[in-house]
Symmetry: C2
Subunit: 240 residues, 2 copies
DNA sequence: CGGCTTATAATTGGATACAATTACCCTTGT
DNA sequence: ACAAGGGTAATTGTATCCAATTATAAGCCG
């Protein structure tokens, strides 16, 4: 099995990282030559990478002017979470319809136990952030995979694509919110296992939507009156 | 306002048309050189166009081997309709929440009247196909636009991207099915106008899903045992 | 005769060169 | 002082060239 990757694909990952990490800031013009020099390649793979990233939603393309890092405001953030919530709800429904494989069920149960262990502590420390994030991604990723729909997976991924956002966001300042959120995980799994499709769908949908609302509330204090999200807003939310 | 299009964008449209029209058949290898010669350009704009079309879902990319026209089977078709149904349901809900502008309401009412007029006839003739399709696209397009979410629009469009499919499909062989479908349009608009968000969402969702089921049933007779959809299946469904 | 190796052709990936368009700055006129 | 115009620099778009990889087919050995 050839895990064969071409150069421009690694360049794509590199530039995406530059965007997500904020080195290319929202609104900034992605100049091809400097990026090519920085990554030690010619403009050609950079161009195809920029094209790919534009299709992923990280960049916008202006003919004869190039690619610019997309900037988002709060309403677009909630837009994205709304779409994602609906699609993940569909994923939960289809997982409930098909049922979980043994491995998937085991994976989710292990993740839920991890989450329980982390959240029984009195304080949420920075060291808990990575394990919690891994747990969260395991739960959602497994449900999405259990839906057995490549198109649905792709739609969810593209709904999440956003500079500085991606799927690595954890709001860890507020322990009760995390507990409420993790309780949702338990209830979603329960609904899926008992084949309650409608309940699984609506629970998952509200769970993701709720996360979006909390993120919005958190980010609002960093926004100007135009609701454009400033890069520094992510500092205490992102885990590199 | 510069409606400035670059060359590779028109090349993208040309190649997309080749795919949708079936000149590049599903599974076929998109050879860069012949395409470039055929369109009278060099390989460079062709390459960027192929990359774009791959991101739209019309092609799949194999590193060091190039781009291939995606082939679909019936389960993937229903996958796509399922995702699209869910997303259009969300669009209907948001349209109901926000309410329709006067122009949007007028546009939909006009479209509904058109559909009524076409469907009161005893037979559906080929000449009715284009007006009906226009009516259908007007209803769905207006609802989607009324949701005021660029991300949702993009997600719906990408859920529809499929060689030989696109949004130009009308199953016109069966008049009762069309009547039932158009009746859905009336009920969806009614739910939106009366701000019944939940009802608008579920009605639209089932409406689109139902269309997918009918299309699937129609296409099944053209499929081999592997359920791969053959190009000739679209002949009496497509309106160029 | 069939499977494997190897040589050759075809095709893609990437670098470079050039053309076309746009952005920037300086000048100029009112 | 400031708006409009023009010219230069910077940047993108396309073509061409070469390298790297893969597909194809002939040859070889069992």
């Amino acid at each position: 099995m050839a895990a064969n990757r071409t150069r421009s694909q690694t360049v794509t990952d590199d530039i995406r990282e530059l965007i997500v990490q904020g080195e290319l800031q929202p609104g900034e013009h992605a100049n091809e030559q400097p990026i090519a020099e920085r990554l030690g390649v010619s403009r050609t793979p950079v161009r195809t990478a920029l094209s790919t990233l534009a299709s992923e939603g990280f960049l916008v393309y202006h003919p004869n002017r190039g690619y610019f890092v997309r900037r988002f405001d709060l309403s677009e953030l909630m837009d994205a979470y709304d779409v994602r919530a609906t699609l993940e709800g569909l994923a939960a429904r289809r997982a409930a319809e098909r049922g979980l494989s043994e491995e998937d069920e085991a994976a989710i149960r292990a993740a839920l136990a991890d989450g329980d262990r982390i959240l029984t502590k009195d304080h949420f420390e920075p060291d808990d952030l990575l394990p919690y994030r891994a747990m969260n991604m395991a739960v959602h990723g497994t449900v999405i995979r259990a839906a057995h729909s490549a198109r649905l997976e792709q739609a969810i991924r593209s709904a999440q694509n956003m500079p500085l956002l991606s799927d690595r966001i954890i709001l860890w300042q507020d322990l009760p919110i995390l507990r409420r959120s993790h309780d949702d995980h338990h209830r979603v799994l329960d609904a899926i296992l008992h084949r309650k499709e409608w309940r699984a769908e609506s629970l998952m949908r509200e769970h993701v939507y709720y996360a979006g609302l909390n993120l919005q509330r958190h980010l609002r204090q960093y926004c100007g009156h135009d609701d454009v999200i400033q890069p520094e807003a992510w500092r205490d939310v992102l885990a590199s």
